[in-house]
Symmetry: C2
């Protein structure tokens, strides 16, 4: 088993790139209707098959003449020619311009035979047939029956004047568009001018996505959490990434724990696709099936890469029934890891196969907001969040926000970059991080302020313009809905204040009493009623924290970082003082005191589900979800901005939402809330 050894020696990231580059994902070119060609890439050069225009075309309203007939004409001494007819755009000329004659033409008309130039109408006069009177020609209606018999020309023209010769725009046989051209509206326009309605384009690589893992359920299907089922995140995420990179994703049905079926699906996907992806399964048996299929009918190029995350990456080829082969890449299982590895190693190969360049917005320059230690001896693709301090015009490596930009921006305007580490398993990291920073194995730390390049999770990712942290609160959620592209991390009041002090966020929302004193500006505040949420009608007759201590009630708590918990602990402290004991004596006697749930609604939902007799929460949530509520007090919720950020446009917008009227609107209908 020589290959087993290979699995242990992690490959360098460059070797992984080379292995993927060695795979052939390029599909056959295809032909698409013009109206579907936008965004595609020309497979071959397109030469003009016709002249544009296809005829000598009048480019002014006026009279078609033989230029020689006008020679010598000027204002003082006009030349008169017989008017023999008219030609309009979209009509076949029914006249010939013989020497001494002219024909009326409108812009776009076919030049009549004999004529080789146009005199614009403004330089001519109409002469009636009888020779009496003259009338300036000013582009008015041609007057039907009143058409004059002769036209006086007050200027001479040269052959070709005001005529666009056939092929002058594009000549038949000319090179119109080169192979590899990305088709944007203007290329669609040129192809239209040439009459092309079927366009030869590069094919989109077909990427099969095989989902492994017994516990995965497709979004929209019923989920049975009691069986440990979770929704399949990777298949849809990677499918969207494939589309974004110019590929065509094909989702294969779940094989569940039927390994024969999984093997069948892998082979089917290889037969049908240019590339097959699977994402890591928690099941060792599933990985074994993939190995077996590759080893029996394919070639394993590489297993294990010295990159974090992504160590278990697997690269190989799968034979096809028709004798060809498909590429295979196995992605890690955690969503952020899978997307990171896809973005870093696979998407470039898909784009390359589709003939598309890397989008200019795929990376963003930023600067580290904090010092970050590192030292793991392998390449780290560190998930990071971004905060765009430039107030709007973000960040393709500098300032590109239109006419107002006056040259490239300095480092000061670079967005802030901060590490996001919630554990790779967290799905929320997907939206709390904006991309990754590649940290070399030999980098010991990144300094605060150090410039870094962020590989965005998508070229369409827009870094938020406001970063808030702090208490989880329904009024805050409403407030966020009124802002443009904010990010809010509900880390609790305590942790929020700590982060505000450390200088990353713009704003912290703090509820209840605090010990910390952080230099900040108050943007707004309100008050909320908190207490114990109980089943509707309060069947246990809960009256306060004493009941939690003294009776056999199942309680659900909130984490110590939250303002709600701080207020509860103060209450229990008061009770302990009253009883002459320590707070810990009392909390030890509360069943579920240590069971803390992350979001403000969670304890209420446990009560609703019958899994708890009381939960720490807000009157608002209790009433909205139809529970009983035992009030224990009110607490202030204060929105604080970092002093040095108070002038930012995004912070000012937030402050504007928190004026008296704004706060009133914000709290309208929220039970237990007051300004």
């Amino acid at each position: 088993m020589t290959e087993r050894k290979e699995f242990r020696d992690l490959a360098e990231p460059d070797a992984a790139r080379e292995a993927i580059a060695s795979l052939d994902l390029v599909p056959e070119p295809e032909s698409v209707p013009l109206e579907e060609a936008r965004g595609r890439v020309l497979a071959e050069r397109v030469d003009a098959a016709i002249d544009v225009p296809g005829f000598d075309r009048a480019s002014m309203d006026g009279y078609a003449v033989r230029a020689r007939d006008t020679f010598g004409a000027d204002e003082a001494d006009p030349v008169e020619l017989d008017l023999v007819g008219a030609v309009h755009a979209g009509a076949t000329p029914e006249v010939t311009v013989e020497p001494g004659t002219c024909a009326e033409v409108s812009t776009g008309a076919v030049m009549p035979d004999g004529a080789d130039a146009v005199v614009m109408v403004e330089r001519t006069d109409e002469r009636p047939a009888d020779g009496s009177g003259t009338g300036g020609n000013d582009g008015g209606d041609d007057g039907g029956d009143d058409r004059p018999a002769r036209i006086a020309f007050r200027t001479s023209v040269a052959p070709g004047d005001h005529v666009m010769a056939a092929g002058a725009d594009i000549a038949a046989g000319a090179r119109a568009l080169g192979p590899g051209t990305r088709l944007t509206p203007r290329e669609i326009g040129l192809l239209s001018a040439l009459g092309v309605d079927e366009v030869p384009v590069r094919g989109r690589p077909t990427v099969g996505i095989v989902s492994t893992g017994d516990e995965l359920v497709r979004p929209g299907d019923d989920l049975d959490p009691s069986r440990g089922e979770i929704y399949d995140v990777n298949s849809t995420t990677i499918a969207a990434g494939v589309t974004e990179a110019g590929g065509e994703p094909v989702l294969y049905p779940h094989a569940g724990d039927d390994y024969a079926e999984m093997e069948r699906l892998l082979r089917e996907a290889a037969d049908e696709c240019d590339l097959v992806l699977s994402s890591g399964s928690t099941s060792a048996s599933a990985v074994d099936v993939i190995y077996r299929v590759i080893e029996e009918r394919g070639e394993l190029l590489l297993h294990g890469v010295a990159v974090k995350p992504g160590k278990p990456m697997l690269i190989g080829r799968l034979d096809r029934a028709d004798g060809g082969e498909s590429a295979y890449v196995g992605l890690p299982g955690y969503p952020v890891s899978a997307l990171t590895i896809f973005r870093t190693f696979v998407a470039p190969a898909v784009r390359e196969a589709a003939g598309l360049p890397e989008p200019r917005t795929a990376t963003v320059e930023g600067r580290m907001a904090v010092r970050e230690r590192y030292g793991e001896g392998r390449l780290r693709l560190m998930p990071v969040g971004l905060l765009d301090l430039g107030d709007g015009g973000t960040t393709g490596g500098g300032a590109a926000d239109g006419a107002a930009a006056d040259g490239p921006a300095g480092d000061r305007d670079l967005p802030l970059v901060y590490p996001v580490d919630k554990g790779s398993g967290a799905t929320t990291s997907l939206v709390e991080a904006d991309g990754v920073v590649a940290v070399d194995p030999d980098t010991e730390y990144l300094e605060a302020g150090e410039p870094v390049t962020v590989q965005l999770f998508s070229p369409d990712v827009r870094p938020p313009t406001l970063l808030g942290v702090g208490e989880d609160d329904p009024a805050v959620n409403r407030l966020l809905d009124r802002l443009e592209n904010p990010r809010y991390l509900p880390v609790g009041s305590r942790e929020g204040l700590r982060r505000l002090r450390d200088g990353v966020p713009d704003v912290a929302v703090v509820a209840g009493p605090t010990d910390r004193d952080v230099d900040s500006v108050v943007l707004g505040e309100w008050s909320r009623e908190w207490g114990l949420v109980v089943p509707d009608g309060n069947p246990e007759g809960v009256e306060g924290v004493a009941d939690l201590v003294d009776r056999d009630l199942r309680f659900v708590n909130r984490p110590t970082e939250t303002g709600l918990r701080r207020s509860l602990d103060d209450d229990i402290g008061d009770l302990a003082t009253e009883r002459g004991g320590s707070r810990a004596d009392l909390t030890d006697r509360i069943d579920g005191y240590g069971l803390t749930l992350r979001a403000f609604e969670s304890p209420v939902r446990r009560v609703l589900a019958g899994d708890a007799d009381a939960g720490l929460g807000l009157r608002e949530t209790a009433e909205r979800l139809g529970c009983g509520f035992v009030p224990l007090g009110e607490q202030r919720v204060v929105v604080r901005a970092a002093t040095d950020r108070a002038d930012r446009e995004a912070v000012a917008s937030l402050a504007a939402e928190l004026d008296d009227d704004g706060t009133e609107r914000l709290l309208a209908g929220l039970a237990g809330y007051s300004a």
Copy 2:
């Protein structure tokens, strides 16, 4: 007729923007399947409806325990617990962990009742039922029937250790994504985790495109140039632009010159669309129909804007049969003008209605390559070409080309910007210009080197990395196919040399003798045979230029800028010397000497069509298109690079294609070509 006055007074561009902003294009929100949601914009906040994970989840392979049972355990003094069963991912636990017991769990498994923590397998030992022997647990197979009866724990754990509580990733009720969020793969991932398979998104504004103009034919339909028909460029170009801006284009059929039908179509489009666009017709009557429809059933907001191009822009509202109204904008008729006005005034409104921000790549900073005079008293949207000197990583306002970037780039790396003015009517301007520079009415000139902001025709436009100019030549066309994103303007040898001297292009291709001496580096050269192209079999027995002078033959020439023409004129000059007269004496006697066609194939095609007896051309073209050929000589074709550009990566790539082997491949099969 007070409104007539309004038509004469051109509105300021800002007034046009305000008029368009006052139109309501916002469609109703809709619901789309998750797999189609990428790129769309959330219409409303999405809160989590479920806990993720939906159960307390083991986050390690190991044993589920009651944490209290492990208190005090360490390497020296392990605690032993009875093993009562196992739980795997995707399965419902069938065991309960009572005090003194444990259950095997794999990562992702549901925590069994009773257990509140997991001890990782590495910190445990298996103990057989009889108590004899010990075996380290190292994560191997669970061993089926050999499952031990007791497990020794060499560490203690706290409640919650290695357990992800239900809702710890996202809690039911938590704010997941805010309204206005652009859905990229990562948001698709988060929605998947929440089980959302139908996503509430902003609607795409429906934009009806009504084509006016008798002469317009849809690409793919038959064209009759003798009637002055041309392909409709604007409808497809603008439709692609609408899609790009996040709208849904609807093309209405051509009404031809049936004004009743045109009126019916306008009203149908208003009934069905959020916005109706038409593009200028050469027909005054068509414009009259549009006026009448708007005045009878709608409101005219503005007609005529002080902007070049785009003066005839028309903005209004159209009443709908159902009592609502649709917006209407009339665009100018020339393709570049229509796209310019669409991009500047209409696309922003479509994006706004779709909830999309302006793409970061919609503009590019550059610097003027040449001095440009201006002074027309109205805003000019000047079409410009770009040349990316940065060799690849272009230009979102600076350097953003990934890991190699070391801070914002200086002015020197800004792409060169040069005006493109082929007359607004030229379709080729669509692809020879990359965007427009807005020049204020009071700007007298733009200096060479002056920084300017270019509004690209599309966010997907990539400025070329190589700009070539000069002779039109089939070998050059082949050469271009081998380069990445080049632009070549076939302006002729003379004009090409002039432009090379003026410092804009990288490269000029020069054929035949030249007078100019331009500082440059020769990258490659070859020779081509030129002469007179005649009908197959040379029915007139043409032998040389003397026949053109002396006989009654219809000739087709090439422009004076071309090398072919220069060689022909030299030949005629020699004949004149021989005969003792002037060249002009001879050329006056050539029928068609003044008829010059732009592309190298054009004279040949005239001959083929029977419209000429001889044309100036190449043996290559004559043989390829099946004509006869009367050789007059050979001329050198030389590829010259500007000296200060010779080191550029793109120029080096070109030079590499022109080494001996490259030139041989280039010329293979081209009749009359030699190295």
